[in-house]
Symmetry: none
Subunit: 143 residues, 4 copies
């Protein structure tokens, strides 16, 4: 398993924010977690509200915790609300089950981390995350 | 009450993972709790995401907390959501109300522990738990 | 009050890590919080252990919560342990009372944020934080 | 970075318990965490009290969180009690600062996980952890 380096995390954030600028998105918070769910890097753009780290981190953490992108976690929450309630409990409230949390896979398919973005619509958040992951040479898995 | 020995817990885990291999299930985490809801043994297969202990443990804990297998706990959650909300609160978020948490009963019918499995579909998780419990000479109660 | 921009936070982190490289410090985590104690930016260097965000954030949060640098918070903890115990409680465990959490003051003396660094000795962590804050054109207040 | 496989975790546990039998130790709980602090495997011997998982896990987690074996974490707690209080807070009470939490390093020196043992004296717990790690072909770092 490749570790997700700080250098890679910076590339992901820079490219995600560049994509956001292209799409004229609202101010974002971009979280990069390692495979164990721990913070590697984060940036919050000026004007983004103050809980963006917690929300984006919750998307990325939920993806890592379940092994699928947070779009799939969101579907679980709709189809099996009681599972999501339980997951929220056992993770001590760390899971945010909406799109925008994207797994980072290496060339062998192994999960090396996750990106969580919050600030615009969930679909746009996810698009920025995917762009960032691809620009850094990894494969995004949005769920 | 017979105590659930480590030797029995190992047999349960080995047989559950053997069943999982037969069924070609995704990588699993297998939790064995004693009658007091405390951890006896756990194994997480390579490739299983990192919250498998918490999720499987939440299934087994919910079964022990209510005295029925977690399939019945899942039904409670659907039929009486406010009860489940309260149960989540008083257990400090330790209950995951979905199938895959199976009570371990001895020959007298007493509950000596519970097995919680997470990693594949809830139905498959439960099938592996049942196989493990039976192979160790106990009676499974899936709810 | 000037808001602490992401651009300033990046300058602080870059300069803090440059100082750390000069001093040959161990791998660091560098946290930048705004005046409300919310995360603006964070970077964890390769090889730094995984709780660096929480520890560094706890230094910066404690500084903001009391209005003095965390070196002074550390002295409070020694001189008035019961105050610190209470502070830990009301902050839900978010305060780490050791040096390395440095207030960021603007030219008028107003607190616009705080930097928290963790990874080397507390004194070295603090030196890197001070260097970062000065390089970004602010006044450090280490306590 | 090598991932800590379930097969390696089993070898560590088996060898730690064999060492414990040689030394005629009291019943133990043996926890193996991965590099992200997540549970890979656990076994609690018959007769060990029920919080052994939490205690042993707290030793291993504290080692991973600070990057040193828990013997060094214990020294930190004695020399800098307020740091330890802060660490306890930001880790949400997950750190147990006593010997018996030993880092697992691979041949390149990278931390791939940690073993935490609880049940006998801290020194004996640590001896069993070291024996287990060595038997599995890794390098123990007790702090």
């Amino acid at each position: 398993m490749t570790a997700l380096s700080l250098d890679s995390a910076r590339k992901i954030i820079d490219a995600a924010l560049a994509k956001a600028a292209d799409l004229k998105l609202k101010p974002l918070g971009v979280t990069v977690l390692d495979a164990g769910g721990h913070l590697v890097a984060f940036e919050r753009q000026d004007g983004a509200s103050f809980l963006r780290y917690q929300i984006g981190s919750g998307k990325a953490f939920g993806a890592l915790a379940t092994g699928v992108g947070s779009r799939a976690v969101a579907n679980m929450a709709i189809e099996r609300p009681h599972f999501m309630q339980g997951l929220s409990g056992v993770s001590e409230g760390r899971v945010v089950p909406v799109p925008g949390g994207v797994l980072v896979r290496d060339s062998a398919g192994a999960v090396v981390g996750a990106v969580g973005i919050s600030g615009d619509t969930s679909d746009n958040d996810e698009a920025a995350a995917i762009a960032g992951i691809e620009a850094a040479g990894f494969t995004p898995d949005a769920g």
